[in-house]
């Protein structure tokens, strides 16, 4: 049988559980947002680099290739 009656210590027990839950939520949100932010940034920069590479004019042929 679950016993959620923490009296007379409810003022200590429940804040301890609430703070633990909040800290875990903070760790989860922070880890996800950090990973998502940098993944999105990397993909955006990679796309820009690929576009710049595609827009670059082809290099002139070197003398060695001139017949």
């Amino acid at each position: 049988m679950l016993d959620f009656d923490a009296s007379p210590y409810g003022a200590y027990v429940w804040p301890a559980f609430a703070i633990t839950a909040l800290v875990f939520i903070g760790m989860i949100v922070s880890a996800f947002s950090h990973a998502r932010h940098w993944r999105a940034r990397t993909e955006a920069l990679r796309q820009i680099a690929e576009q710049a590479e595609a827009a670059r004019p082809p290099a002139p042929p070197s003398e060695a290739h001139v017949p």
């Binding site: 679950l2 210590y9 027990v13 880890a31 996800f32 950090h34 940034r41 920069l45 990679r46 680099a49």
Partner: protein
Amino acid sequence: MIPVPAFLSNPERFMAFSRWAAPMFGALAVILALAGLYLGFTAPEDYQQGDTVRIMFIHVPAAWMSMFVYACLGTASFLSLVFRHALADAAAQAAAPLGAAFTALALITGSLWGRPMWGAWWVWDARMTSVLVLFLFYIAYMALRAALDDETKAARAAAILALVGLLNLPIVKFSVDWWNSLHQGASVFRFDGPTVADVFLYPLILMALAYMSAFGSLWLLRIRGEVWRRRAEALAQRAARA
């Protein structure tokens, strides 16, 4: 040379491994925590501590994790400093905020347990003081990394600081044996077996495993974030040079 599995030393393999391992550890943490909380709230009140004994199920695992995460931080810092493993440095950097959070939880929940049982929110007891020092090591590690612009220098300085901080771990562990303390001596990890009653021991072990799995999941996720961040910075530098 210490052999390091490829998925821990090769970023590509690490990313492939962590893609499935991080959610798997996360799911395991949820299952273990639900089982631990169920057993924790069906356990009887302690005859001396009453319902405050339930704080043990969240406080003691946080205290164990504060030390375990620091040991991970120290090991990763050692590998980064000596063998120049880039992933080891990312692992050390990713462990620090998680370790600081677990240590803060240990201090706060301990304070909420101490007030009704000892009559004080805080005393300068050897265990509590050494855990506070551990927390300050985490904060100093993060502050040092943030303070230096040169990331290589910051990583080296922070790794040295992390190795110095390892000296505090045996002090935290044995503080209750070396000095008079309000904390009791070891009652779970003992050569002659745990002295905690099974009704309290099982939920405590389940919650400790849940914390461990949660850390595994979040650590992998944060290392992934670090790998992405370093890739983004390398791409930005390449673009600036072009």
